[in-house]
């Protein structure tokens, strides 16, 4: 049977869980009821058999005193109207004693046989009443037959009642457990349905939709939380790429316009020297545009987590190399470069990405710090166990209200518009930090400048 052909109801988790629930319940209650039956009705039957055995033993003992002794014992017992009824026949098959009139089965040859039979009695108003009995027939060694039997009507009634109770409870149990199963699995199915609906609405374009979290902390809440975290990231990426598209269009317009003007001027230029200069400047412009494209691509890949091979890395090694790379450039620009090396600080990291992020921060520091200032590269383990790589400078810094914006793509604060650059350096550093499950924090370096200089910290989880 193929799943695809089952009717819709059967395919639902609700139905399957309910069925499973009911089946397990039935199995469980059936064994319970079987045990109950064995211990009640079964027990009564076994008890009657035991009593019959005892009765027969007593009568056998009487028979050892002769046929007349037996006759006497049977007569006494029949007269007592106890639980059993009796029939004693002589060798010729004539009834001698007892309160029963016929043998329900042929007497065995010199043996004992257990019988079950029906017989008719009349009730108080004289109506015939069929009753069931069970008993034992024994041929006597000296001729004659003895039968002792008991009415199982009482026992049969109890038996029937118990059986009926068992069946009824099984039926009620089945229905109840089906209902229970439906109720239980409905709530699970409902939550799955809610998640599916959220996904549908997000796909339809509403990126602000979130899966409901009930606060119960169960698996569904966890799932919802994870899905929501994913949606938040998705929304951010979509917004980022939308705004990046706008920014690219905006940022490309100016260099492309400049380029066009320059080509126009080159075309009209009088001498080969001027047109050559125009061409060279044009190439530089095109290179700038291409570089911006490359950086945007790289940024997207880093943000999408599509690049980098992350392994346990000693970041002190990376900062050592960058200190060595940047120290001469700082010196040339008359900046005091300080670096406090550390022996070993391990992070799950991609060396190239971390190096590029730090390089971007160092580029900024070198670019914006005026001559005579200082740039400091440092790393340390934070009290919480995270690893902090920071670049501090004595430049103008960033006003507190602008710090968050400075990390966004293409944002170039007014103060820096005049400097060359794509406005992507901090975005890339921030994306690299996030790719490492860390963050980029911009802060005041507590220096003398208007905003105290910039302290850019990459904070990464330790490995």
């Amino acid at each position: 049977m193929k799943i695809g052909r089952l009717p819709a109801l059967v395919r639902t988790t609700t139905f399957r869980l309910a069925l499973l629930h009911a089946s397990i319940f039935i199995l469980f209650s059936a064994s319970l009821l079987a045990y109950l039956y064995y211990e009640t009705a079964g027990h009564l039957g076994r008890q009657a058999q035991a009593e019959l055995n005892a009765e027969f033993q007593e009568l056998s003992a009487a028979y050892r005193g002769g046929f007349d002794r037996l006759n006497q014992a049977v007569s006494e017992r029949s007269g007592a109207r106890g639980k059993f009824f009796y029939l004693l026949e002589d060798g010729a098959g004539q009834k001698v004693a007892g309160d029963f009139d016929f043998l329900p089965a042929a007497a065995p040859e010199g043996q004992v046989v257990d019988v079950a039979f029906d017989y008719d009695v009349r009730d108080a108003r004289g109506n015939p009443l069929r009753r069931s009995a069970a008993g034992r027939i024994s041929r006597l060694s000296g001729g004659g037959v003895l039968m002792v039997a008991y009415d199982v009507g009482q026992l049969g009634e109890i038996n029937r009642q118990i059986t009926e109770v068992v069946w009824r409870s099984a039926l009620v149990g089945f229905v109840l457990s089906l209902i229970g199963g439906v109720v239980i699995s409905r709530s699970a199915a409902q939550r799955a349905e809610e998640l599916a609906r959220t996904a549908e609405e997000v796909m339809a374009g509403d990126l602000t939709r979130r899966a409901p979290v009930r606060g119960s902390g169960d698996e569904f809440d966890r799932l919802s939380e994870q899905i929501n975290a994913m949606l938040i990231k998705l929304e951010r990426l979509v917004i980022a790429s939308r705004s990046a598209g706008d920014s690219i269009a905006h940022d490309l317009r100016s260099p492309l316009t400049r380029l066009r003007n320059r080509l126009e001027a080159g075309l009209r230029a009088s001498g080969p020297e001027t047109s050559r200069a125009a061409l060279e400047e044009t190439i530089a412009d095109v290179d700038g545009v291409l570089e911006m494209f490359n950086t945007v691509l790289r940024l997207s890949r880093v943000q999408a987590g599509a690049t980098g091979s992350f392994r346990r890395t000693n970041v002190a090694g990376i900062t050592d190399e960058l200190a060595e790379l940047y120290e001469p450039a700082c010196e040339e620009k008359h900046l005091t470069f300080t670096y406090a090396p550390e022996a070993e600080l391990y992070v799950q990291a991609d060396r190239g990405l971390i190096a590029q992020a730090l390089s971007n921060l160092l580029d900024n520091a070198v670019k914006y710090t005026p001559e005579g200032g200082g740039v400091r590269l440092s790393l340390r383990r934070l009290p919480g166990g995270e690893v902090e790589l920071s670049v501090c400078d004595t430049g103008p810094g960033i006003a507190p209200e602008d710090r968050e914006r400075a990390v966004e793509r293409f944002v170039r604060l007014e103060e820096s518009r005049s400097e060359p650059g794509s406005g992507l350096g901090l975005s890339l550093a921030s994306a690299v930090a996030e790719a490492h499950r860390g963050r980029l924090v911009l802060d005041s370096a507590d220096g003398p400048g208007p905003h105290g200089g910039l302290a850019a910290r990459l904070i990464l989880p330790a490995a």
């Binding site: 290179d287 690049t307 091979s309 190239g352 580029d363």
Partner: protein
């Protein structure tokens, strides 16, 4: 040098042909992977320039098959894909260098010429020598005209790379990639400053400079 260029974009191929031709190299161009592979096997080339994305058999596959068949000409991949993982794929396929499009003509020439040199110097040398400048790779020492020059470890590696490519133009990007193993370009002129430090150590007290700046391209160490 005799160079084969395998590139399906006709204008890009013409550009490579012109740039390498202007630099004095003999260039053959193939427009697709199949014929490129055939021709690379048939001709004795000093270097291959292979576009990574080709119709039919792509550049990676082409070079893998070329290497499997015993081809030894060093190869430079050209690609618009420039992430580190792309580079690694290129090197794993048997490439010797990887240049991301778009590139400056001087960069292409410098890298292709560096490839040709690599093949010539397959035997590992223990000493390098350029016009009175001697480097002992085992003792990690440098002398110029018998005078000992003290270098930092990184300066030593920088000079070693320049000496191995003596007479050739070496670009800033090449230095960043080969000496520092960084695949991004810092905005700060870090390489220039390192070069000028190195220059002050090897050239300052001597009459004839060895380390030259090639405007708009990079540097060249030459006697």
């Amino acid at each position: 040098m005799k160079v084969i260029v395998i590139e399906d974009d006709a204008s890009a191929a013409a550009f490579v042909r012109q740039v390498l031709g202007d630099a004095g190299h003999a260039v053959d161009v193939c427009g697709d992977g199949e014929s490129g592979l055939r021709q690379a096997r048939a001709g004795e080339y000093d270097a291959m320039v292979v576009d990574r994305m080709l119709p039919g058999m792509d550049g990676l596959q082409l070079l893998k098959r070329y290497r499997e068949a015993g081809g030894r000409a060093p190869a430079l991949f050209l690609s618009a894909l420039g992430e580190v993982d792309h580079r690694v794929e290129g090197l794993q396929a048997g490439g010797d260098d990887y240049l991301v499009k778009p590139y400056a003509p001087s960069e292409l020439v410098a890298r292709v010429e560096a490839l040709g040199r690599r093949r010539a110097g397959d035997v590992p040398a223990t000493r390098l020598s350029v016009g009175g400048l001697d480097m002992d790779l085992l003792a990690r020492t440098v002398h110029r005209d018998g005078q000992k020059i003290d270098l930092q470890p990184r300066e030593f590696r920088l000079l070693e790379f320049l000496m191995r490519h003596a007479g050739q133009v070496v670009t800033r990007t090449m230095l960043l990639e080969k000496v520092w193993d960084y695949h991004f370009d810092p905005q700060t002129n870090v390489i220039d400053v390192h070069i000028s430090r190195l220059r002050s150590k090897i050239d300052k007290d001597f009459e004839r400079p060895l380390l030259h700046t090639v405007r708009g391209a990079g540097y060249r160490l030459e006697a």
